[in-house]
Symmetry: none
Subunit: 269 residues, 2 copies
DNA sequence: AACAAAATGGAATTTATATTCCAGACCGTT
DNA sequence: AACGGTCTGGAATATAAATTCCATTTTGTT
């Protein structure tokens, strides 16, 4: 009855998972992916919960367990319950542990960046200004077309926004300045500009904003401080301060605001 | 029916435990002691197992749970199971609700996304694999040139990497596929490919990786799951699982790994 | 387009587990 | 030692979960 190879350790389990997942039908692959990403949940969940998480029927999850070499879910769960010795350390313990590795391994760096990101996010919650945000959303929701601008370190954010708007069926263009063809004249009255820019502000972005304001096009600017020269230009500012680690800026908080804007505008349309 | 004070956190649970254990009959005291010494087992054990461990009958253990303020063992267990998985709420269903109450302030949305980002980051600490990471760093550090590829939702990450490498003076090219000029032949032996791709994988990226592997160029792939078809291609996988709601993915964890890679490679060069 | 094989969803069944109940044991008091 | 109360063990019951089964759908092949 019992398959020749039922994994006996977490390591064997992972290997087997990778091995079988190369050729697996849709639903079973969903199971494999969910399990891979949530191994720790197996010990404390029911089949029904795991199945729901993976987006499949319990019976499908059951079949997955059997393909993995177990007689059923219970047997698979037993493996994880047993290897659950003393639980996993909590966030801070884990952080310290990784930090110790500092020089030897890149894992030490991960700890620092995770911490910087987390601090940025928490800080964001404290400092976000709901009125400003709502005002920005309503400006963008009214626009017939949103022109997104952000270069250098802001470019990832700008492209993220472009992707999110597209997914939400909000008309938007990413001005990527390819070939230095600044499609400035694509901006028409009734449109709005969404600029992402951190100090030092790139000239292109500042000029783009200036040109838009000169024609009374509304501009929302995602930036890093409220005391910004951008204010002079008459842009609606949304400021986010990120916690840096070394010379590097985690974009966690900025992306958070970005996706919020996108979703809020998308649902309001 | 429910006692006025049922502990809601592990801390409250401990306090309550100490409080009641001052005056407790023999068997119930055994329960209290066993529980205090084996808190972590509650999440993964049955009443029968806990009772046996404490050296009492299941019914006695049941009574203990009730004295602690829970309706029964199941309710007490829920507390520990939930705190174990570290609250990774079901965002998929939450988004559905989000759309319904669309009109509300965007500030509420921010909180949701901050929470998603935070969960992603904490989960990253749990699942990061230092060996894999170091292996990836050493592959990239050896490369004469790093070719970065990532489209659609992965493009923000790819462009972030390009920026970071540039700042660290690491030779790198972002393959942005402008004009569909896939500069595939720019990849030379001695170089390496760094691909960022999440399911569903874009054809261009998969092809790019395939072409590189066919010429024995090492490939590091930043992806969302360990059970990926990319493994077949012989790429070195680094997997990051993000809290994801449909089209809306917080990229916090992915960017964290990205910047780590960039800085680690930069300092190793 | 027709067919066979594989995969899937949902309900039915089985099994495990939690929970309740109560008769009897124990304990402190008079 | 007799009485009230509390505590305890074990079996009986209720509940929830795992597992199986099969009709239906999907997929791949000719």
């Amino acid at each position: 009855m019992s398959e020749p190879q039922a994994p006996g350790t977490a390591k064997e389990f992972e290997d087997k998972l990778i091995e079988i997942s190369l050729a697996l039908p849709k639903r079973l692959r969903q199971c494999a992916q969910y399990v891979a990403a949530n191994q720790d949940r197996i010990a404390v969940s029911t089949v029904a919960e795991m199945a729901e998480g993976a987006g499949v029927q319990p019976s499908a999850f059951m079949r997955f367990c059997q393909i993995m070499g177990f007689s059923g879910f219970s047997e698979m769960q037993r493996l994880f319950r047993e290897s659950y010795v003393g639980g996993w350390p909590d966030y801070t313990t884990r952080l310290d542990h990784l930090r110790e590795k500092g020089g030897e391994s890149a894992a030490g760096l991960v700890a620092e960046f995770v911490e910087a990101g987390r601090a940025s996010l928490e800080n964001l919650l404290k400092t976000v200004n709901p009125q400003e945000l709502d005002a920005a959303v309503s400006i963008l929701a009214k626009a017939e077309m949103i022109h997104i601008m952000g270069l250098r370190r802001s470019f990832p954010v700008a492209s993220y926004l472009a992707y999110a708007f597209e997914k939400m069926n909000v008309p938007a263009i990413l001005h990527d300045t390819v070939g230095k063809l600044d499609n400035r004249n694509a901006v028409r009255s009734g449109d709005a500009v969404l600029a992402v820019t951190f100090s030092p502000y790139s000239d292109e972005t500042v000029e783009f904003i200036t040109a838009a304001r000169a024609r009374d096009i509304p501009v929302v600017a995602l930036t890093d401080t409220t005391v910004s020269q951008l204010r002079k230009l008459g842009a609606m500012l949304i400021s986010v301060s990120e916690v840096d680690f070394g010379a590097f800026r985690s974009l966690s908080a900025t992306l958070c605001i970005a996706i919020t804007l996108a979703v809020a505008v998308g649902t309001k349309k």
